[in-house]
Symmetry: C2
DNA sequence: TTCTAAAATTGAGTCAATTCTGTTTTTATG
DNA sequence: CATAAAAACAGAATTGACTCAATTTTAGAA
């Protein structure tokens, strides 16, 4: 099929996202007015609201792109993890963190996180929760892999451990985006230090 | 001194907070209009903005009251902790969680958390970060206490451990307030399960 | 090709937070 | 006491996200 209508729709979606991404980057989330996004995308304000429930959902679409790339990159580590528990965790978490500021500024992350807690039932709120879950799941998968390789004790509660590691990392990341001065290497070092306690407890 | 001006100021502060707390509870954060708060407090809209930078800061003042009570209650546990690492952590965390919904609804917590990430440099954003730090510090103090009592190994990195426990608990609490259906006993059970991994690793 | 129902678009209008400017109240001084 | 400076107040005006009724475009049947 792919009628005219469907093509125009996809095209408008793309134009809105591109316009928003550009303006968010240039002017910040608050600074990017809906009217400006509409003008840049060559649609009307009403049309934007036909495609997205609110301004946050536009940002949400951009965040989803970013996180999905990260999840993809993480798969490689899960498939072939370094032969050392600490390094394996550090490598996976490193991918998450290093990738995180590619498309999104700290300010955009702050807004995205804020919206996802403020409106947990909006389309974006639910999508963000699902992304968090997917990341937790991937850490859990890494632990299962390490258990299969005999690097992590079999009697460890993998589900609880995955959540613990993800929750700690995520909270550290939240604090990281809240402070503009915070640097990536310091964030990684702090998380490594925290995980060291766990690594000592679960390794064979 | 305590001139008329200072007294009126304190009185207006109190009236605004009381009016806001009542309306937030009744109508929710978004539902409580600034005009309504102003009317209820018998001041003008302009005056409210003279006292608080924005609507979020009013909520922030209420949240601070709540968290400070919690910190206070926690001190008792740190002073005389149960003679078992798992129970000690569970007791302290229990106090935090059970107290959390006394004055604040889940919706108010969501708003407060959102604002604190959205505007980390606003008065409330900074206050919220300080409160988080104080809670982390209290968990750290409990661990130090348990180490002094010989219940936790001396060679454990107490600072990192405190952060790990707080970050995990906080993230679980965030997810808890995001889901209206989530219940306190389940939250506590989930955190206990996660902490069990740590308890096994650090106990003597 | 022509016509009609459904889908999509438009932009002026609404609503509520925040800002701004002129007025009033308080304080401190002679 | 009178009064000028400082502080606080009031509420009208501004701003920007979001809504909605009217209009335009598309798909597909005749």
């Amino acid at each position: 099929m792919s009628g005219l209508r469907a093509r125009q729709k996809a095209d408008r979606h793309r134009r809105i996202i591109e316009a928003a991404a550009e303006l968010f980057r240039e002017a910040g989330y608050e600074g990017a007015k809906i009217e400006a996004i509409a003008a840049q995308a060559e649609v009307s304000v009403g049309t934007i609201y036909n495609y997205y429930q609110n301004k946050g959902d536009i940002l949400g679409a951009i965040v989803s792109l970013e996180v999905n790339e990260v999840l993809n990159a993480g798969q490689g580590v899960v498939a072939r993890p370094p032969a050392n528990v600490g390094d394996a965790l550090d490598t996976l978490i490193g991918i998450y963190i290093e990738h995180s500021l590619h498309y999104l500024s700290k300010e955009m992350w702050r807004q995205a996180m804020a919206i996802s807690t403020q409106l947990p039932d909006s389309p974006f709120g639910q999508a963000y929760t699902a992304l968090d879950r997917a990341l937790t799941e991937q850490i859990r998968a890494l632990i299962a892999r390490l258990q299969a390789l005999g690097l992590v004790r079999q009697d460890i509660d993998g589900a609880a451990l995955g959540e613990l590691i993800f929750n700690n990392m995520n909270m550290m990341f939240i604090e990281f985006v809240k402070r503009d001065a915070a640097k990536i290497p310091e964030l990684r070092a702090a998380i490594r230090r925290q995980n060291r306690i766990l690594v000592a407890a679960i390794g064979t």
